[in-house]
């Protein structure tokens, strides 16, 4: 029924349709590892074995695509992603201020700060690698270099996926994707170049830098601003230091304005938290669309 491993994987992919893309990728990786090892073992025992016949008995032991697919779905149903979705708060206050105790908020916040650093690294890596690959193409090392570079992009995409899953709670692949085994250098390069996944990952890496800078400056500005507003009344009350001074003019604000300022600062901080959580949610979806084929 299945003449090659690829046939089986194709059928498995079809069976996995509708389930999480990242889970599908893991299931395919496991199946590829097992089936190719089993096939190698079979051809070692009897060198002139018919591939389709050998595969038939191997699959009988491994399980049909629908059996395998349902095993993965079953397990996935029982394991939850690292950050569970919190219970929906039903009061208005819970809805507004619950953001401070929601782990997703802090995960998003951390992720946005980290993106500032990883974004620069990804961007540099992508741009340097791509331009070197293209210019090396006229040399003999061009093809191997480009393959290595594109493989590193896939590796970094996996790594970023782990980061996204840990901090943003979006299910991402846990296994690397494999190129078909036994390919020649040029064929391997062709496979990599025609893979949509490669280019989308590269695009993601390049876009991470502007996004990281945007996230970082937005967060720092908003957080500093709200903390400043919250601290201002204390500064005036305790140290008798004016909040606003223009030239020689020193302006002390009345008490009601001070209180208003502190409350405003706290509300700005709360708003920033909501913004961070929403951005994290959006970024998770965006990362999944670009990094998971």
């Amino acid at each position: 029924m299945y003449n090659t491993i690829e046939d089986y994987l194709e059928a498995l992919k079809k069976e996995m349709q509708g389930s999480d893309a990242a889970l599908t990728q893991d299931a395919l990786a496991d199946a590829r590892e097992h089936l190719s090892l089993a096939l190698d073992a079979a051809s070692e025992k009897t060198p002139d074995v018919n591939e389709a016949a050998a595969l038939k008995s191997i699959i009988e032991e491994y399980g049909t695509p629908d059996e395998t697919a349902s095993a993965y779905r079953e397990i996935e149903r029982r394991t939850s992603p690292s950050l569970k979705k919190g219970e929906k708060p039903n009061s208005f206050l819970g809805l507004v201020f619950g953001v401070y105790v929601d782990p997703r908020t802090w995960g998003s916040l951390l992720f946005m700060f980290i993106t500032f650093v990883t974004g620069i690294i990804y961007f540099t890596w992508a741009v340097t690698g791509l331009s070197l690959s293209v210019s090396f193409l006229i040399l003999i090392i061009g093809v191997p270099f480009m393959i290595l570079f594109l493989l590193s992009v896939q590796g970094l995409a996996l790594l970023e996926g782990r980061l996204v899953e840990a901090l943003l709670g979006v299910r991402m692949p846990r296994r690397p994707i494999f190129a078909q085994p036994g390919l020649k250098w040029l064929e391997r390069l062709k496979a990599l170049l025609t893979d949509k996944h490669t280019w989308l990952s590269l695009l993601y890496m390049v876009l991470q830098m502007p996004l990281g800078v945007l996230y970082f400056s937005l967060l720092v500005t908003l957080i500093v601003l709200s903390l400043l507003f919250m601290a201002a009344p204390f500064i005036q009350l305790i140290w008798n230091y004016p909040i606003i001074s223009m030239g020689f003019e020193r302006i002390f604000l009345p008490y009601w304005a001070l209180i208003l300022m502190a409350v405003g600062g706290f509300l700005t901080l709360t708003l920033t938290m909501h913004l961070a959580r929403a951005t994290g949610w959006l970024h998770g979806r965006y990362a999944k669309a670009l990094l998971v084929s």
């Binding site: 496991d30 590892e33 399980g63 846990r174």
Partner: protein, 118 residues
Amino acid sequence: MTELSGHTKKFQKELNAGTSSLVLLSVLSRSKEAMYGYQIAKMLEESGPEIAIMKQGTLYPVLRSLEENGLLESLVEPSVSGPPRRYYKITEDGRGALVEWLEIWKQTKKFVDANLKG
């Protein structure tokens, strides 16, 4: 293997859901070196009865969930031919869990056997 009816298949699957974790953990606790999925599947096949109780493909998601729960750890190693292999090793938490699971298994076995005899 003769074709089993739907109910029987479902029953077998539900039984396997628990026992496969126990078996995998026990196999890996006895192995001195890290093992990869195919190796484990082969070993189970050789030690086991003539009838294959569980499909080998179902072992992989179980290995994965054990890893996610911190009972196993894994390492990917590239191979010369074919895709890289994922090697699994038991963790300290895993050894702790195994001791408890074995005790539960002993009691379950006793309970089921006692009731089946009637």
